[in-house]
């Protein structure tokens, strides 16, 4: 019997799950990414590389900030440019705005309905928990306001330019964001407490599989980092086994194309093993955030899940801690007087070269790799995006969980719901990964 769940809902993009079941045992699971491949890596060829920044942002309608930053960093790496300090601070603030919006979107709208109103989605949540929704909207709106102020637009910002940023921050805008940000932090603490309590009350971590894998992410001297640092690889036992500069990613990451998915499956080139990225990887790798409230929640989380944690549900709680950290970091940057400096652009001259830009997108390690000619026109592009790196282990987990549930006699439609909940913990962004999920159970070929 073949069962197909299509599309998986409350994620970003089009994905299906195909289960092949024989004698009540799952023989095979395929995560079919059916999101239309847009083939950015090819059509960016021949374009002036500075235009790639705004083009690449359109890879993702949620983590556009991360794509813009990875793109400009690849360019700056190829042209050997260092932006002024204030420009870096503005970019970090923009990045924090992106995280606040993306994490709040996932925690409230994509993940919470599974716990509070299963099967009813955001519409159910809005009707049954209007106060909760108002809080989540208030927080996410702040993220979008930060992006609009710094980036010029709330979605697909336009101010990221080679050598820095195209517009400074005004004193009035800074006051507005600071004042609002402090209120937002209070609300976020209430919401995160609520989420931690829910997890404790319903013992939700037990719902998710434990799946030991390697982890990859940025970390700076033990501190959680999202914009710039060396990549670290942690083994399933929790030891850091490799530290390398992003420009050497080809030596560490390989990927295979598969006949049944538009997304390629990456693995560690050094040993062929699966690895994961994103919130769980980042909190496994980091020792601290460096902001007081996030560190308090981080300590609490670590006391619950340990280090390393292989629990897929911990992705959600780690996301909650990062939400707090992003707001705190935004406030820290806004309080720094240097953020108002007008010195935000370095002199730039195109030249031939190869550049790699790595950032932590909300969903994990994001790599842009460009080769440009002496006029600064793109010759070749390679992209490794966050979500695709989690798909191989996701597939293994779905296989294990489906088998486990079927052996306990759980009916198929419930199995489908469970599988979707696991998918959602990763907050997959499929349009990113191809550069969606339906529960349509098709019982055929019995």
């Amino acid at each position: 019997m073949m069962v197909r769940i299509e599309p998986v809902t409350r994620i970003e993009g089009h994905m299906a799950i195909t289960l092949v079941i024989e004698k009540n045992k799952v023989r095979n699971v395929q995560v079919n990414i059916i999101e239309p491949p847009r083939l950015f890596e090819k059509f960016m060829e021949g374009k002036p590389v500075e235009e790639a920044i705004r083009i690449a942002e359109r890879i993702c309608g949620i983590c556009y900030v991360a794509h813009g930053l990875a793109s400009v960093k690849a360019l700056e790496n190829a042209w050997n440019i260092s932006p002024p300090e204030t420009a870096i601070k503005l970019r970090r603030l923009l990045h924090a705005g992106g995280y606040i919006h993306s994490h709040m979107l996932h925690l409230a709208f994509l993940a919470l309905p599974d716990i509070l109103c299963p099967g009813e989605g955001v519409v159910g949540l809005a009707k049954k928990y209007p106060q909760l929704c108002k809080k989540a909207i208030f927080i996410r709106k702040f993220g979008q306001e930060v992006t609009e102020v710094i980036g010029g637009r709330p979605i697909h910002p336009s101010s990221i330019v080679p050598g820095g940023m195209s517009k400074p921050l005004s004193a009035e805008a800074r006051e507005f964001l600071l004042k609002k940000g402090k209120e937002v932090l209070k609300t976020a603490i209430e919401l995160v407490d609520f989420i931690f309590d829910l997890y404790e009350k319903y013992e939700l971590l037990n719902v998710y599989p434990e799946d030991p894998t390697y982890y990859m992410g940025l970390v700076r001297n033990g501190f959680h980092e999202t914009y710039d640092a060396k990549l670290h690889i942690m083994n399933p036992e929790g030891e850091i086994v490799d530290v390398f500069d992003g420009s050497r990613y080809v030596d560490y990451i390989a990927e295979d194309a598969l006949p049944y998915s538009f997304v390629k499956h990456p693995y560690l080139r050094i040993n062929g093993e699966k690895y994961r990225v994103g919130t769980l990887a980042r909190i496994n790798l980091a020792e601290k955030f460096g902001t007081p409230i996030a560190d308090k929640y981080f300590a609490k989380l670590r006391s619950i899940i340990g280090r390393p944690s292989h629990n897929v549900g911990a992705y959600n709680l780690a996301r909650a801690v990062e939400l707090i950290a992003s707001i705190e970091k935004a406030l820290e940057l806004l309080e720094d007087n240097q953020i108002l400096s007008k010195d935000i652009r370095a002199q730039v001259k195109p030249k031939a070269g190869v550049g790699v830009g790595v950032v932590e997108a909300p969903r994990g390690v994001l790599i842009h790799h460009y080769e440009v000619d002496d006029e600064g026109v793109i010759k070749r592009v390679n992209l490794i995006v966050a979500t695709q790196q989690n798909i191989p282990s996701l597939e293994r987990e779905l296989f294990q969980v489906a088998n486990n549930l079927l052996s306990k006699g759980v009916e198929l439609s419930r199995v489908g719901q469970k599988l979707e909940t696991i998918v959602r913990a990763y907050d997959p962004c499929i349009s990113c990964a191809t550069h969606l999920v339906k529960l349509k159970i098709v019982n055929d070929k019995e």
Binding site: R38, E45, P48, I155, E255, G376, L439
Partner: protein, 292 residues
């Protein structure tokens, strides 16, 4: 209650986010209408019958997109193209300038990190040329933009729910921009890695600014942030073809400065969002049909 559905084809989900970005008003809206399908927020997998308004996010890239689109059309009274991918093909339309097989080969077989390469073909739909949705179904209303302004989406919905046709902007981004219009010819062409002079029209300074041929409605956000308009809202009402219109303007303004023209390169400026609905694309398609 009126039924609304958001149906997603080839897209990055940004229009969905623009819809959610009406923020507090979302809760109000959800009390007034029945949002019956939206893969990002609603659990329902199928597209129900008797939809009042279907908002289509994304253009056509696969045979699966065509099926979904036709199903949406057959079940909806009013079908709206939301965003520039649905309206014009959007940025992925740039892919139409590259041979599809070699593009697939590059992405799935030849990138520096790919070890085992294969073009996906099992349990996945066929990949075809990028197209705006109007090539396959009748479109009742367009809300262009990458993404559209959140307020535009909400206002259009409110009008359509009342049975009215929403007003469309008649001006250009240039009309909304406090820097323009150009007062003199540019001395030379510039690229955006060079910082512009403040308070001066970007086209006049020699940047490829698309404001004069692009439909208004965003308030000229990009030029006001110091970056040329990249034309994300598609052709202005009087412009038949966005790229041809800006070329026409540039021939008048900067004839001496344009030494060479390469479609693959300059499409990044002139046709970033609208190549799949351009006159050139029509010619290519005609040629492809004749070949067959």
């Amino acid at each position: 209650m009126k039924k609304i559905a958001i149906i997603s084809l080839m897209s990055d989900g940004g229009c969905h986010i623009a819809f959610l970005d009406i923020h507090e008003e979302l809760l109000q809206l959800l009390n007034q209408v029945d949002l019956v399908h939206s893969y990002m927020t609603v659990d329902r997998k199928d597209i129900p019958y008797n939809i009042d308004i279907a908002l289509i996010e994304g253009g056509v890239r696969t045979t699966h997109d065509i099926e979904l689109l036709k199903e949406a059309r057959s079940k909806a009274k009013i079908l709206v193209a939301m965003g520039s991918c649905a309206c014009f093909g959007g940025i992925p339309g740039l892919s139409n300038l590259y041979d599809l097989t070699s593009s697939l080969n590059y992405v799935y077989r030849e990138t520096p990190t790919t070890i085992k390469g294969v073009i996906p073909h099992e349990n996945v739909p066929n990949v075809i040329r990028v197209a705006p949705i109007s090539r396959y179904v009748k479109v009742d209303f367009q809300i262009p933009g990458c993404p559209p302004e959140s307020k535009e989406i909400k206002d259009a919905l409110v009008s359509l729910l009342k049975g009215e046709i929403p007003p469309q902007p008649t001006k250009t981004v240039c009309d909304e921009c406090k820097l323009g219009p150009p007062k003199k010819k540019p001395k030379r062409l510039r690229r955006i890695y060079e910082p512009p002079e403040p308070n001066t029209c970007l086209l006049e300074q020699g940047y490829f600014c698309m404001g004069s041929v692009t439909r208004a409605g965003c308030g000229a956000k990009c030029p006001h942030a110091g970056i040329p308009c990249d034309g994300c809202r598609g052709p202005a009402p009087k412009a038949l073809d966005q790229g041809a219109s800006i070329l026409n303007a540039l021939i008048t303004l900067a004839y001496e400065n344009i030494k060479e023209f390469s479609l693959k390169r300059h499409s990044a400026y002139f046709y970033r969002y609208s190549f799949a609905s351009s006159i050139i694309e029509d010619l290519i398609r005609k040629r492809l049909v004749e070949k067959k």
